[in-house]
């Protein structure tokens, strides 16, 4: 059974979802790569920021 950490699960989710978003939502390969990276940063970044917010609220 796979037991990835929370961060690993977030990064895997962000990687695969961003790949599909990039390919399906843009026309040219260059735009696809740029949009894929943008989505990955938003997915992973928002998870990390929200984690810190929840940590600070819980203190």
């Amino acid at each position: 059974m796979l037991r990835p950490s929370h961060l690993t699960a977030v990064l895997l989710f962000a990687l695969f979802a961003s790949t599909v978003f990039g390919i399906t939502q843009r026309e040219t390969p260059r735009q696809m790569v740029r949009y894929g990276i943008y989505c990955f940063v938003l997915f992973a970044g928002s998870a990390i920021v929200l984690s810190w917010v929840m940590f600070l609220i819980a203190r």
Binding site: L2, L15, T19, V20, I23, E27
Partner: protein
């Protein structure tokens, strides 16, 4: 000299032939198959790898494959799972996945399986848009 453009034009024409909904249905049944039918090998491979990996990781984390719906949330989960096409039916036949969810990673796994299905539908619709010419 002039054979390369002719060849690619012929390949493009061949990709535009056939039933217009075939890439949509093929893409739903097998991730990336809609793009393969349209000879978009690179895009199809990346989509297939992403969606199949997400589904496999979900199963590896002992995610749940829904069998029926007792309430609205389970119904939504079942719809998400059904979007995986043949992968869902194979998973059900082989009795893959865990039920009930008992550990945190299994809950992640359930979400991975559902999101793989939703991404599969996005990919299938993209293949349909390529087929109809709405996207290039």
């Amino acid at each position: 000299m002039g054979t390369v453009p002719n060849k690619s034009a012929a390949a493009g024409k061949a990709a535009q032939q056939g039933w217009v909904y075939l890439p949509l249905i093929a893409g739903w049944l097998v991730p990336g198959a809609g793009h393969f039918l349209l000879r978009k090998w690179g895009r199809g491979t990346l989509l297939a790898v992403s969606i199949i990996a997400m589904y496999a990781l979900g199963l590896g984390m002992q995610g749940k494959l829904y069998t029926g719906a007792q309430d609205i949330l389970e119904l939504l989960g079942l719809v998400g799972d059904l979007c995986n096409g043949l992968m869902f039916f194979v998973g059900r036949m082989m009795n893959w996945g865990a039920n009930p969810v008992q550990v945190t990673t299994a809950d992640y796994g359930t979400k991975f399986i559902e999101v793989a299905g939703l991404l599969n539908v996005i990919a299938a619709v993209d293949a349909h848009n390529l087929r109809t010419g709405r996207k290039s």
